[in-house]
């Protein structure tokens, strides 16, 4: 509602109503006088005025003085009203202009004719006194609060704002960010299971927000499945879907080893295709911060970051920490350890001793899932490190990829790729900054889920589960309902007793 012209309009209304009142009275008197004067000259005119006078008297009789005054206001103050309406329409027409371009609105803003009560005189006097004293166009005193008719965001404008923000951030990256960013190659081992959609969607959204070109190598255990393929197709990330011949085992220990083999397969793909960039291992259930992707641009050959370990502690029967654990809590970070001058001296690993008895052995067991000694996701390296031809001077402390896993030995950690681990660069302020978190949350291996998470055809029969959570509190709910009914709906109180033991939703 535009209140800005309230002052002018209120004055107009005040003046016009006053004049209307006078007019109302005035109509009576000329009618009477003309009736007496003009009867000799023009009988038609006098009867006309007499009739009009009579009509007005009747209206006043039936509607009362105030309403008749309103009618006179409407009849006799047309000129003033058109002035105010034209000013509002100029403003509203510009509003509708922008609206039709962007987004069709169903209603045009109403031309408000309401008047701000009580304060018109005060505002008028304020305005007059101050306009006299200063030559300023800015007026001191009370002003209306301008509110447009539809004070909600316009979607086109929101998109424009986002594009502006994107451009600003691009410029910020240009001046203050990484100077010549290298593309990223992300290797993710995955397999089709209940929680795959949950984990992969999170990872997809993260990769889409990365401001550098990303090539995503997805290695799937058990071959290529439609589940994974459909998720990847919708992802809008450039990906390579590589099948892995084995199925994912159910035991955690076996699973870690299989995942390692899958990652090595990914590395071999990079080697075959001579892909350039920075290699990063992103497990699908891990959580990444966008700072990570800026930080790893600094890597020369091989770097290591700190990984926060979120060891999932199983079901509701979590045991409390022992006294020893409270004094020395297990450090939940795996990563490089540096001395005071910033040189790598060793590694922090996850202290899994407190969990040795109660760790999970197979996927879906409600116990703590432990990470391996050295998680792959905490290591990044230059793709040129694993190329066949050491064209850019691959350092001697790097082993050749073909020689790894040749004899069928298991690769526990990426440190097996290098001869000398002291050349690994600690990133993230020497491991002090944690930018990614390791987490393993999985449903039982035999849990079912609808393929593609689409229920087709729609469910027809609804069978209540055996243990409805509401049955214990049903009595309480029923009595509360009775009380409410008594308070608010007197006639319905008789029927409330019928609904004692069922909730409204379950009536049918």
């Amino acid at each position: 509602m535009f209140h800005s012209h309230g002052t002018r309009r209120s004055n107009a209304a005040a003046r016009s109503s006053a004049s209307g009142g006078l007019e109302g009275g005035g109509v009576g008197s000329p009618a009477a006088s003309s009736a007496s004067e003009g009867s000799s000259f023009r009988p038609s005119a006098s009867t006309f005025w007499l009739l009009l006078h009579g009509l007005c008297c009747l209206i006043s009789l039936f509607l009362g003085f105030r309403f008749s005054r309103l009618i006179f206001v409407l009849l006799f103050s047309n000129t003033i009203y058109t002035y105010t309406t034209t000013t509002t329409t100029t403003i509203t027409s510009t509003r509708t202009e922008t609206l039709t371009v962007s987004f069709p609105l169903t209603h045009t803003p109403p031309i408000e004719t309401a008047v701000k009560p009580n304060n018109s005189a005060l505002e008028l006097s304020d305005k007059m006194s101050n306009q006299g004293s200063s030559h300023s166009q800015v007026v001191v005193g009370r002003h209306g609060i301008r509110i447009r008719p539809w004070p909600h965001p316009d979607p086109t404008e929101v998109m424009r704002a986002h594009r502006i923000i994107e451009r600003v951030q691009q410029e910020q990256r240009k001046w203050y960010g990484v100077k010549s960013p290298r593309p990223l190659i992300v290797i993710t081992p995955t397999y089709a299971r209940t929680f795959q959609a949950l984990h992969l969607t999170g990872l997809i959204h993260c990769l889409r927000n990365v401001p550098y070109p990303v090539t995503w190598i997805v290695v799937e255990a058990g071959g290529v499945t439609n589940e994974t393929a459909s998720l990847l197709a919708r992802s809008r990330v450039q990906f390579l879907h590589i099948p892995f011949h084995e199925k994912m085992p159910v035991e955690w220990a076996e699973r870690h080893l299989t995942e390692n083999r899958m990652r090595l397969l990914g590395l071999r793909v990079i080697r075959e295709r001579n892909m350039d960039g920075i290699v990063l291992f992103a497990d699908d259930s891990n959580v990444h911060s966008l700072d990570l992707f800026d930080e790893i641009q600094k890597v020369q050959w091989m770097g290591s970051v700190s990984v926060g370990i979120l060891a999932h502690s199983g079901g509701p029967d979590r045991t409390l920490l022992t006294e020893d654990e409270k004094l020395n809590p297990p450090i939940p970070v795996q990563g490089p350890a540096c001395n005071s001058s910033g040189h790598l001296i060793g590694w922090h690993t996850f202290n899994s001793i407190p969990y040795s008895e109660k760790s999970a052995t197979f996927v879906g067991e409600s116990a703590t899932v432990l990470p391996g000694k050295m998680e792959w996701s905490g290591f990044v390296f230059n793709a040129r490190m694993i190329w066949k031809e050491a064209e850019d001077g691959r350092p001697e402390w790097v082993k050749d990829l073909d020689k790894i896993g040749e004899n069928g030995e298991e690769i526990e950690s990426p440190l097996a790729l290098v001869n000398d681990a002291s050349f690994v660069e600690p990133l993230g302020d020497c491991g002090k900054k944690v930018m990614l978190w390791w987490m393993r949350v999985e449903a039982r291996a035999d849990s079912k889920f609808p393929p593609g998470w689409i229920i087709d055809p729609p469910l027809e029969i609804v069978v209540p589960a055996k243990r409805t959570p509401w049955q214990e509190s049903d009595d309480l709910a029923g009595s509360k309902l009775e009380q409410d009914d008594r308070r608010f709906t007197r006639p319905k109180s008789r029927s409330s007793s019928k609904r004692k033991n069922t909730l409204p939703g379950q009536d049918n």
Binding site: S4, R95, T98, N119, N130, S133, S134, H135, S136, Q137, V138, V140, G141, R142, H143, G144, I145, R146, I147, R148, P151, H152, P153, D154, E157, V158, R160, A161, R163, I164, I165, R167, V168, Q169, E171, Q172, R173, W175, Y176, G177, D294
Partner: protein
């Protein structure tokens, strides 16, 4: 012969194009206002200022009584005095001085809540001028035309916090010919004298520097504002505070996700400003606010919502190119206005704001540094030199009426 000319022309054009190409590659841009490229001028050698030695009751005693005067937004008067005492432009010989400074702190009488009371300020100022006029001949020589005063209160030398009363009072009559250095600036307003120097309000520089974040932190907030929209204590009816502009901002944009506006006081206020593209600087009871200084220091484009406002150092800083001005009547379409600014214009404004001399010009660091607000004030005074001959009164000529003004002002202090 012809070929050589072409070669020379080609080389010349390359030499000319290079610096232009380089300029676009920088992340800052030089600032030059209507007075030229004057932000980095050095005032030393261009003017001489004589500082009157007033008794303690006019300055030091007030600060000793209440040390909050040193940290509130009106602390400019105190720091200007201290700066001038040790500055190279100061001269101990009044005969060679171009400008005379009277160190009187009129904004240091604070309520228990910390707000300055302006009721005694006219008397304090009058008393100081009388002291100066009686003890030195330089005031009467020009009736104050080559003297300058720092009056940082809400409405400058009108000495009142309420705009209507301030307009009624007008500028103190005795300051009619003097130059005023004040924070208040509004065109065609009684309380802004012709030839005044508008300065930014005092904001503690160390506090702001302590909250700087890395410039690579992406700016993800579109519009940011923290402050009151309604002043229920002083304006219970609504419509008086900020001429209804702040209330209009709230009512129109409270549900707009692009606008991060609220009344609370987060501890990350300064950090949030560095993550925003636009910062609103609407008027309050007076058109100026420390938000402008904060926005400039943190690289957030100020959106000025105050009709006819005169911004600090308006002749040295081209505010039209740096800030976005929105008329109070256009506040309901603020989102349309801000989203339709082309991205190149926004980037250019950010480049101008990133210029360190711009940020420096808004601050009052202790000790003073080159290019800071103290130096900009001196530059402004230097630009007014040499004094016009009308400044010097003929012998026996008197312009000021020492009994003008409300009766209450004439009481001695």
């Amino acid at each position: 012969m012809g070929k050589e000319i072409w070669v020379v022309a080609f080389l010349l054009s390359q030499a000319l194009l290079l610096p232009i190409a380089q300029a676009a590659e920088l992340h800052t841009e030089r600032i030059s206002g209507s007075a030229g490229d004057v932000l980095e001028d050095d005032p030393v050698g261009r003017l001489k200022v004589f500082v009157y030695n007033l008794p303690r009751k006019y300055n030091k005693k007030m600060v000793d009584k209440d040390s909050r005067c040193l940290t509130h937004m009106f602390a400019t008067e105190i720091f200007m005095h201290r700066f001038l005492l040790s500055s190279a432009v100061r001269t101990l010989d009044p005969e060679e001085a171009d400008w005379f400074y009277t160190p009187v702190y009129t904004t240091c009488d604070l309520t228990p809540g910390g707000h300055p009371l302006p009721f005694k300020s006219p008397r304090i100022m009058r008393s100081a001028i009388q002291y100066v006029a009686m003890n030195w001949p330089y005031w009467n020589r020009t009736d104050g035309a080559d003297h300058f005063f720092v009056t940082p209160h809400d409405f400058g030398a009108c000495f009142h916090y309420q705009e209507e009363t301030a307009i009624q009072r007008g500028i103190l009559h005795l300051l009619k010919r003097a130059t005023l250095v004040q924070t208040f600036g509004q065109r065609n307003h009684v309380c802004l004298k012709e030839g005044s120097i508008t300065v930014p309000p005092y904001a503690p520089p160390q506090k702001m520097q302590a909250h700087l974040v890395s410039p690579s932190t992406p700016r993800s907030i579109f519009v940011y504002f923290r402050g009151l929209f309604y002043d229920v204590n002083n304006d219970p009816e609504g419509g008086y505070y900020a001429r209804g502009a702040r209330a209009s901002v709230w009512e129109n944009f409270k549900s707009n996700p692009l606008f991060d506006i609220s009344t609370d006081h987060p501890p990350t206020y300064y950090e949030d400003m560095q993550r925003s593209v636009f910062c609103l600087c609407p008027l309050g009871w007076a058109p100026w606010s420390p938000r402008l200084v904060e926005a400039v220091v943190f690289g957030c484009i100020p959106v000025i919502i105050a009709d006819d406002i005169v911004l600090p150092f308006a002749d040295a800083i081209p505010w039209e190119e740096i800030a976005v001005f929105v008329a109070e009547k256009d506040v309901p379409s603020l989102d349309t206005i801000l989203t339709s600014i082309p991205a190149e214009v926004i980037l250019r404004k950010q480049r101008l704001l990133a210029n360190p001399s711009m940020k420096q010009a808004m601050l009052f660091p202790q000790p003073a540094q080159a290019g800071d607000a103290f130096h900009q004030i001196l530059n402004g005074l230097a630009r007014k030199l040499p004094h016009d001959r009308s400044v010097y009164l003929k012998p026996g000529e008197k312009v000021l009426n020492w009994t003008a003004g409300p009766i209450g002002d004439l009481k001695p202090w």
